[in-house]
Amino acid sequence: MWRFLGTRIAMGAFTIWITTILVTLLIHAVPGDPVQIMYAQSQGTTPEQIEEVRRSLGLDRPIPVQYVMYMERLLQGDLGATIRGGQPVLEVILQRLPNTLLLACAAMFIAIVIGVPIGFLAAYREGTLTDIALMIVAIAGISMPHFWLGLMLLFFFALELGWLPVSGNGWLNLILPALTLGLSNAAIFARLTRSSMIDVMSQDYVQTAFAKGLPKALVLRRHVLRAGLLPVVTMMGLQFAFMMGGAIVVENIFSWNGVGRMAVEAIFQRDYPIIQGFILTFSVVVVCVAIAIDALYAVLDPRIRRS
């Protein structure tokens, strides 16, 4: 089990290391002069000031030197300063990251609580009308763009019915964005749970359990549920990454003050230090969650736990 986890952690560290390289190169891939572009929107910047910025960002040095400088600062927890306002990027990100994580976790909770039971029920009644109806709902859910679902929820619950606030950062404000993200992912969990459960139910040991005459509920609880949920657990890591990606859009609909909204604003303002910081933070979060999920998987699956 430790070997399994060790490989995953090494792979994650490698991914983050590659990200630091890509993030340094990113600013050079920008067509034209990045410093000129960044300051194109603020009036009255003198050529001397632009040269000053170029020096402070280290953009006048060769790329490998820039990378070493970037890493030195990064290891001291310095992600640079924002172009507009000159605040430390790390501070700006850390202020908003908890909001995004809260949104993603709430959405994950909704997705699992709704998706897994639906998938289980559909598998239990495989081939019946219930199964078909549930799977039609699921494929419709997967096909629905989450930004549209968000707008519809906003329209009905906030504007028409007035039950929930339109935007803001309180607990009530969390409900709509979390539902938006959660419902679209619940459909994915439902489909996955169903196919995984059906797969397990056709295994020999489950057939044997049925043949022994054990009650269906007991076989399901004792033999099917645990094995059938393993692929769902594996999927959670990838799903969390989807949620982080989906949060970028959803945060913008509901003006939820997270890193996704910050990133989109930064792209419009060409604030490259924020974009670099966002990409790095995003991949660190995704890698950490993936490792945590792998650890959970290792604990749940005896084949890995005892290896």
Binding site: T15, L26, I139, S143, W148, A241, M244, F268
Partner: protein
Amino acid sequence: MSAATHQDGPKAAPGFLRRLLSSPSGAIGLAIVFLLIFCALFAEMLAPYNPTKMGAGGRFLPPGGDHLLGTDEFGRDMFSRILFGSRITLLIGAVAVGISLTIGLAVGMIAAFRRGWIEAILMRSTDVLFSFTETLIALSFVAVLGPSLQNAVIAVGVAGIPFYARTCYAAALVETAKPYFEASISAGAGPTRLVLVHLLPNVLPTMIVVATLGVSTAILAAAGLSFLGLGAQPPTSEWGYMLAGSRDYINRAPWLMTIPGIAIAMTVLGFNLLGDGLRSSLDPVERK
């Protein structure tokens, strides 16, 4: 996808179409996709108005009457905009999937065929890119290239490569282990022949399913970027962009929000159903 399919590939075609049409998801999916292609091809003839002409008959007209789906904040006919939007949407799907599929196929097949260090480098970098997630790759690309529909499509296409490469690699690996493949090697087939004549036709069924489902993902991702203002720019009648514009008039003209959303959802549903149908009619195990 077995050795049998390999031998009688062309003859299997009519049976395949019958199987596809006999599954409800395949039939409905195919119908939706055909309808879309029809709208896209004949948008000029079908559209009652010019999609970008303003003030065609008044602003914020509700659906019905002269304007089947109403008009928007500039008095443009929504029905005509949706029709022309189908052309953009299909083009987005085709180009983005084209990018992911071509590069993904090449990477996957080369890795499975050459093995050794080439395989290691290709598949490890695919793994790293895969863990970045498609959204982050697409967003980074747009951040670098700047917001435009063209850049958004390239971004979505590139973001899809790791998934296509992985799937193709897995499918190709299975093929290279089969007896017919080894027989071709001992019969003296060169690498070009092995890859193009033996490997490609046998990974293609899997990849066609992946690409069909991928059109949905690509359309959703590109519409999402346009919705954020990072893709299509005015006055394009791209559906995601139209949705973004509807936010300001959500109370006054809710149809501006519902109609493009339904259009996106139906398109994505069509490709999802078609992909599901293709999978079950191409997969000999599920065929029963």
